[in-house]
Amino acid sequence: MPAAANVSERAVPGAAPIPASAGWTRRLASARTGGLGVLALVLATLPWVFPNNYFFEVAILVALNAIVCVGLNLLIGYAGQISLGHAGFYALGGYGSAILAARGDWPVWLSMPAAVAAVGALAWLVGRPTLRLKGHYLAMATLGLGVIVSIVLSNEDRWTGGPDGMAVPPLVLFGRAVQGEPLWYGIVGVGLWLTVWFALNLIDSPIGRALRALHGSEVAAETVGIASAQWKLRVFVQSALIAATAGALTAHYAGFITPAKASFLHSVELVIMVVFGGMASIWGAVVGAAVLTLLPQFLTVLKDYEMMAFGAILIVTMVFFPRGIVPTLQRLLSRSRR
């Protein structure tokens, strides 16, 4: 290994070994492109091994949750803020687009971006006053917002169909309705891959350094000129936009939407996926979303004991993987390599 030459020039004797400069960046780059390659391969292979549509349905659900979690992890893991209302943004993206398309006769290719933009504006309105304050005011504000959204969606039945939900018109592109699980799997799969790629690029850019700096030391971040409140607001709005996009896709894929999507429990689930997979880790968000979406599918065989087993698995995982699955594994791996 040629990089070993660099390791030997150490100024402080007995200090921790320093990864060789070239090797370090190369490894980082390869983990990045390697990971993206593996993700593309997995996404492309799965349709060939899926025996029936049910598998496609679950895979679409996993991918949509993963998209939301990658966005949410930028907020939780990097900006250090918790949102307990992301299910609200998710549902509003779906309902907004559904209502514009069904009641307003908007074409879906227009109703989706319009609803997503409106959710972004709402997130900005909620985030701007709360993120100027230090502490976890965003968690409280989004908790309240999520509950309000959930109540409004259940009660305004003239628009939303009430607790029973409403039918959603299909997405029509080039004169044809986008329907069928395999096609939607393709759309959502490409969406997930792009989301991960964008997020990885973002974290490895001046923006990503600013976000990691906020996570590391907000005081120091401010002293190098990082406007912390502004950056937190940017990330919060972006994560809400991503959640709303996923929500709109879900609505038009399923052809149906209910207020359950907006429930507080769904918001908490999303946060758990992020923490479980690993905060401040893009791959952690994907893994967390995948594991926690798939787990209930396997645990249904336990019937009444399903939730007990689910809880036990969560507790055991957090005991042995305190930083979340991906960061803890990464740490173990890099330690064993030394």
Partner: protein, 268 residues
């Protein structure tokens, strides 16, 4: 023209006047030390000078710009860089990333070039990386460039903070006890570094307990006591000022006090 102008600055906490009608100026290209016994108001002054506290009255101008009451990042944008007495390093990053983050104000933080990793952004990143490497070498941490910050020793982190502050190309560098907690050798390295910065034309405000360091590198010294100016002048003037000696050693020993004893007492 003075680079930093502090006018009639006051800040109280309850009944305590931590800074009491304080005025002073810092000339460009000089090393200006601020000293004083514990509780004299040095930390409060620093927090006022970086936007962490808002003064009750008075104003502070940096390079002609009135920054009184502005948030910290505005002070940074106006050209103020600082280090911290109790380290504020980004422990979740490598040494290199810490220093690269220091260049935030000079970087393009638009979303589109970042998420698509456009060639212009890659070139800017490469340039930033090269500059950050050079800075890390300059503060003598060449061997630690790619080390994770949480694996670095205390003395190295002190210098890493200086490199990060320098990366922003500040007009004024505020060093808050850069030698605190360092042994003789490490303190001497900081000493050399500050001298090199001063020779390069950097304006430095130095808050420090280590009197030897203050006497060696400063052009001017401001002595604070109970939030007000006790004395100000060259290191030699201040060291022989009876009021300063009295504040540090007590009234009885004034007669026999020399620079060295005053320095030692202050350091103790």
């Amino acid at each position: 023209m003075s680079l930093l102008v502090v006018e009639h600055l006051s800040k109280g906490f309850g009944g305590l006047r931590a800074i009491d009608d304080l005025s002073f100026e810092v000339q460009p290209g000089t090393v200006h030390a601020i000293i004083g016994p514990n509780g004299a108001g040095k930390t409060t002054l620093l927090n006022l000078m970086t936007g962490i506290y808002v003064p009750d009255s008075g104003r502070i101008r940096l390079a002609g710009q009135d920054l009184t009451g502005q948030p910290t990042h505005r002070w940074a944008a106006a050209g103020l860089g600082r280090t911290f007495q109790n380290l504020q390093v980004f422990f979740n990053m490598s040494a290199l990333d810490n220093v690269m983050t220091g260049r935030h104000l000079h970087e393009n933080t638009a979303l589109v070039p970042a998420i698509f990793r456009l060639p212009a952004m890659r070139r800017a990143e490469a340039l930033n990386r090269a500059q950050a490497r050079a800075l890390i070498e300059r503060v003598g941490l060449g061997a630690w460039i790619d080390a994770p910050a949480d694996a670095m020793p205390y003395g190295a982190l002190k210098r890493l903070e200086i490199a990060r502050a320098l990366a922003a190309e500040p007009k004024l560098l505020l060093l808050d006890e850069p030698a605190a907690g360092l042994n003789q050798t490490e303190a001497h390295e900081i000493d050399t570094l500050i001298r090199a910065l001063a020779r390069g034309g950097m304006t430095v405000v130095l808050v420090e307990h280590n009197m030897r360091l203050v006497m060696e590198v400063s052009d001017r010294v401001l002595v604070l006591e109970r939030g007000a100016r006790l004395a100000e002048g060259t290191p030699a003037e201040v060291a022989h000022d009876p009021r300063v000696i009295e504040a540090y050693l007590g009234a009885e020993t004034v007669a026999g006090a020399t620079t060295d004893t005053a320095a030692e007492a202050a350091h103790a």
